[in-house]
């Protein structure tokens, strides 16, 4: 092995580490300014009406729902996409239960076997007023869901006014959702 090649090879680790380091530094500085949030996901549907859909329910948990039923609500509804195979969804459940004391939450089981989703919802007490099954994820695509858990705040009449891609908890509710409820 000649000296130049040796030099390049031994310099490769620090170059790689440097690239990673610059990336991390950018992330951290953007996190401080709020431009970068590892947990946030931009959804193009915010401000638009909800897409049309009709979904069946989960076994033993009622009938499911349609876009017409959601639009007909007189109170804002929090729509939450979840799945029994999703670990952050497990972590989210206590937060959802706390939020459900303040406002109705409608759950949509994303790409999940109905019996698994039903068991998951019932495991520690269901936070959902209504639950529907999006067995093959078609509805989630229309909503612009990129993963689970994601939640949407839907105003009476069916307009999406807020979207969150983190596991919800009472702090997020207080900071993000409750102020928006006041304007409705």
């Amino acid at each position: 092995m000649n000296a130049t090649r040796r030099g390049i090879l031994t310099a490769a680790p620090i170059i790689g580490a440097g690239v990673l380091g610059v990336g991390f530094w950018r992330m951290l500085s953007d996190m401080r300014s709020g431009a970068f949030d590892p947990r946030a996901i931009k959804n193009p549907n915010v401000g638009k009406p909800i897409p049309s859909f009709a979904m069946p329910g989960l076994p033993g948990l009622g009938d499911g729902f349609t876009d017409a039923e959601l639009k007909a609500q007189h109170r804002p509804v929090l729509v939450n996409f979840f799945a029994s195979w999703c670990i952050p969804c497990v972590a989210e459940m206590p937060g959802l239960r706390a939020i459900s004391r303040n406002m109705p939450i409608w759950g949509i089981a994303y790409e999940d076997k109905p019996e698994n989703a039903a068991g998951f919802v019932q495991r520690d007490g269901s936070p959902y007023a209504r639950v529907a099954s999006d067995r093959h994820g078609r509805v989630a695509i229309d909503w612009g869901v990129t993963g689970v858990p994601e939640s949407f705040l839907v105003a009476p009449g069916g307009r999406i006014i807020w979207h969150g891609s983190a596991a919800l908890d009472p702090q997020i509710y207080e900071a993000e959702i409750r102020p928006r409820l006041a304007g409705l």
Binding site: R6, A17, G23, W25, M31, R32, R123, D124, G125, G147
Partner: protein
Amino acid sequence: MFGPEQGHFALALACVLALVQFAVPLWGASRRDARLVGLAPYLAVSQLIALGYSFLCLVMCAVSDDFSVQNVAANSAVSKPLLYKITGVWGNHEGSVLLWTLILAVCGGAVSLFGRNLPDILRGRVLAILGGVSAGFQMFCLLTSDPFDRVFPAPMDGQGMNPLLQDPGLAFHPPILYTGYVGFAVPFAFAVAALIEGRVDAAWGRWVRPWAVAAWCFLTCGIALGSWWSYYVLGWGGYWFWDPVENASLIPWLTGTALVHSAIVVEKREGLKIWTVLLAIATFSFSLSGTFLVRSGILNSVHAFANDPARGVFILALLAIVIGGSLALFAWRAPSLTSTGLFSPVSREGSLVLNNILLCSICAVVVTGTMYPPFMQLLAGRTISVGKPFFDAATIPLTLPLLLAMGVGTALPWKRAQLARTFSHLYAAAGIAAVGLVLCFWKLSGILPIACGALAVWVIAASVSDVLRRIGIGHTSAQGVWERMKNLPRSSWGAALAHIGAGITILGLCGMSQAEHAIVEVHIGETRSLAGDDWTLLDVHDYIGPNYKAMQADIAIRHNGKLVTILHPEKRDFTTQSQTTTEVAIHTNFITDLYGVVGDRHGTGKDTTYVLRLHRNPLAPWMWLGGLIMAIGGAFSLSDRRMRIGAPKRAAARNMARA
């Protein structure tokens, strides 16, 4: 005597001592001044004493319920059991950083005490590097995460601890895991010292390897314990979720495993020097990045740490100095290190090179999968998630040749091997592996689990047959076998044990790929069957615990009408923290785990139903048992090292006595 102010002062004192420990020996070494270099061990031990005192102060604050200390007020409570008051000290960010630096100081102390046979200059430099890293993290502790911060007015009672963390498994998981992470600081320091000195030889390999093996043992135990905890506490039936925090521990384990093996080549054949130095630097760098980046909030993980970007910037600067500095030194000095040991591709060295390539490829896959989401978001503004399908698809095909090579490697001689002769040693193992393959076809489904299972049997069989061959079973008399058993180096026993442990872990993983579970809703007295067992909910009763309300179910499991066991899973409601936890009930016969969880209660009166989650997890205990055996194997080979390292001195003492 042990108040928070004394603790704070001791921490600051330790930080100053660490800075002196960094500067003086390095300066002394460059001036070839033996007195300055000789100060290093004393400084390291004094730093350890100061830091140990500081840590003891924090423990005393927690034990004596001093809620004027912010950290204690936020994480403890009067009603908390004593054990968890102590272990809760490292159950939060500030305390865990202090524990981290304490373990680093213990490593420095250990090098001072056990490294007396090292050349003074090398020991001085190693201690200086350790001191420098210590000083950095103690400053981090003092400036951004002070565990002794006070609150005024002090609250009457603390906020208590997350009930999930009140578990003996988790209480001892962080110290063991951190010892693994931090232990790799010693090989790192040896690597940097060698780069400064510009010399890596067989003796360097011999010195560095026991430290790497010791850290590796702790890291192995730590990962196994963490995985076991998530299995039996989270009640989700899973054991590994490819979460960034889990990956953060797996990445240094992979490079550390590679290091433990490549250091053998340095020691025996003076080959792979540059590579080994790089692995030593990389392993500790990954340990550092892993432990600290998860606290900065960049990595999206379910494991909650108090995220603070300001802290993240400090950490990143520290990482840039430690990692960037060592890699810059590497780029500058490593080209001058030359290898002398030549070997053919088919040889013990060749197999160790293959092992390194495969381990590092797996590591690259895990790093890519972990780093891809944040970098994708930074560069393209898109959010994606990388999960189990990617990791399984990318790591298992790399694991298969690794397992194959593990069986062959130990049977190969150094320098150059004759394949035909080597294979003649392996006929028996190959036969057993073939039987294993048939068994796997019968018991497992899916091509990858079958292949992994058969290769795991191959690894175990090849390791056993290698030891049998070495002790001459079938070739010599019983007396001869006994003599050879006594003379076989402990490191050979250790390697065989560790490989057998790895095989057992892989078998456990294969078994778990066949796990079955069902979520059922039943009335009391109802029976459901799962994979041949009948699960009957006998009764459910409520009781009041020390700080929770619990619902306990009695579930009888019968196999062909014969009672196997009665499980008592619980659901606990912690009212003060408004948190519910599940207490999983597990019955194991070390072949299969029967795992029951009780969920919600629905309806009232006669219509009351209960949601139960029933799991049948084949070979689950083997995953952790294998990890433990791996660690024991490492410890065994350590005991060999120590004797050999101590030998010259003992021989000298004997000669003195004779004279």
